[in-house]
Symmetry: C2
Subunit: 322 residues, 2 copies
């Protein structure tokens, strides 16, 4: 094999490869090359969140390219910033990489992180990071953002508000099902994905799973429009709506026209928000109504939902990798 | 075994255990329980850095307790914030834990993170985090801080400045040597550390390796005193001084009274700074002089240093764990 691996380079050389991919994107007051970045925070309030993708529970290398992984790691974090009503301004990326990984994989990952920022959150860039060697490929991203007004929390939904969503509900979970059903060997080992055997609709679902594109810009739009509560749907609508309902002390009654994938599928990172009647901005669609707190946190067409609401990493991972 | 493991709890239950350890420390405008934290940034400039500890290259579980690991993960990140002349205000912690780890280990780790903040950087707290399962225990910390004045970079050292250091140089590397020499089996496997077989001085060195205590508060003191350049010594004085010298376009001439451990040992996270003559504040001691750039970035007693200057994670890890 002539392809260079991470172990063939020293840290400085690998960092140079990554910086070459990121070049020109920083807007930091002090960027890479010092002990820490210095970033502008107009308004003196910072939104900060962190989320990690781990080889095994969060992705399989048979299915995700480096660019897929970078895009997803950025997107899931940008969504958490957007869900507070904030504009993302910076990512910090802690990358732990097995030393046998191809250098090009790391470059592709950096390319994916940058592309997701450029496309989903223009003005946001990778402003810091850390590179270490590990037996388990791990991408820990911290996303930072700034607020124009007050943060939108999970706890502000009021009886009579509209329940609305921006972004897709369902494709990412359908995509995962396609990957599990069609691209694993008899023993469950993930097999390389062959897009040509998929229909256009199936391919689109798989892309939604591997490269989610949440509507990041609509987070601050919702805040300006007067959203009373907001969060991103990462673990499934029922499960996440329950969290919002519990935090707000209300019941969310969702439309009975939502199908099962929309109700229980996670990982699209759509924005779930509540608005006073008539305040819902463009880009959101109504999916329910906020009611006085009843016996159930969430109902569908007025009826309690029976079934599994979402995903728990400690209960649901089958310990496989590939 | 009746001791509960991470896999015996769901995510919410494990988070409750961690929150119980951290309770009462947050000063965030919006704390845990939402999609992201909201933090105050007086002065509108944020210092941000991230650094990761990975099982294998960065620690061995035969030697580090959960509390050791939490303390070290906090300290190395706090040092990077301090090295910019900033006051640390918040940590975000992305924790990836094998599901067989005892729950008490995770609680101890949270306890260590909190203790390091309380002792080294009062006012700094764990304001956000992420918890995931992984085959490799990984602690990725992002540290945030605020500035009273201008950030102190690596590039500002000027000819005639004093080279100074605050904090220890050498104990952590001596401690690592003791662990490698005395607490490994014939096949190199780390063995449980037995403090009673060590002298007081040896024990103190081992503690410096497992729980470094860099002088965090002296970072902003140095900035106010007029430090022209600063960084923390993480990989070894010669190696890190070379980085500072290269960034500043000068040569650092270090005192020939420094021993080998002080010159090449890393991981104490002392603060290396340059000051105009007579500006060096209390807590720092003089270890050299900034000279016009010569053939070498760093000299010791006027003579080029011959030997290895520090540690490279991609060249130096032996791939062992334990």
């Amino acid at each position: 094999m002539s392809e260079p691996r991470v172990r063939d380079l020293d840290e400085a050389a690998l960092l140079r490869r990554i910086f070459a991919v990121l070049e020109g994107s920083s807007t930091a007051l002090v960027g890479p090359g010092d002990d820490a970045a210095v970033l502008a925070v107009p308004g003196e309030r910072l939104v900060a969140t962190t989320d990690t993708l781990v080889h095994g529970p969060d992705f399989r290398l048979a299915w995700s390219s480096g660019e897929d992984l970078g895009r997803k790691a950025a997107a899931v974090n940008l969504a958490d910033v957007a869900a507070m009503g904030a504009r993302p301004t910076a990512l910090l990326v802690a990358l732990a990489v097995p030393d046998a990984m191809p250098v090009t994989f790391v470059e592709d990952l950096a390319r994916g992180l940058r592309a997701a920022c450029d496309e989903l959150a223009p003005g946001c860039a990778i402003e810091g990071g850390d590179l270490t060697v590990s037996d388990t490929l791990t991408v820990a991203v911290t996303a930072l953002g700034v607020l124009d007004g007050a943060p939108v929390r999970r706890s502000g939904a009021r009886r009579g508000d509209i329940v609305a969503v921006a972004g897709d509900l369902g494709p990412a979970t359908r995509g995962l099902r396609i990957l599990f059903d069609r691209f694993r060997g008899a023993d469950g080992t993930p097999m390389s994905m062959e897009p040509s055997v998929l229909s256009d609709a199936e391919r689109s679902d798989v892309v939604a799973q591997l490269r989610p594109t949440p509507p990041i810009a609509l987070g601050s739009v919702a805040a300006r429009a007067g959203a009373t509560a907001m969060m991103d749907v990462s673990d499934g609508l029922i499960l996440d709506a329950t969290r919002l309902a519990d935090a707000s002390g209300v019941t969310l009654d969702l439309s009975s026209s939502l199908d099962d994938d929309a109700l229980t599928g996670g990982e699209d990172h759509a924005l779930l928000a509540t608005f006073p009647a008539d305040a819902m901005p463009e880009g959101f669609r109504r999916i329910g109504t906020v009611r006085e707190r009843g016996a159930c946190a969430v109902t569908v067409g007025g009826v309690p939902f029976s079934g599994r609401g979402g995903w728990d990493p400690y209960q649901d991972w089958d310990a496989a990798r590939g």
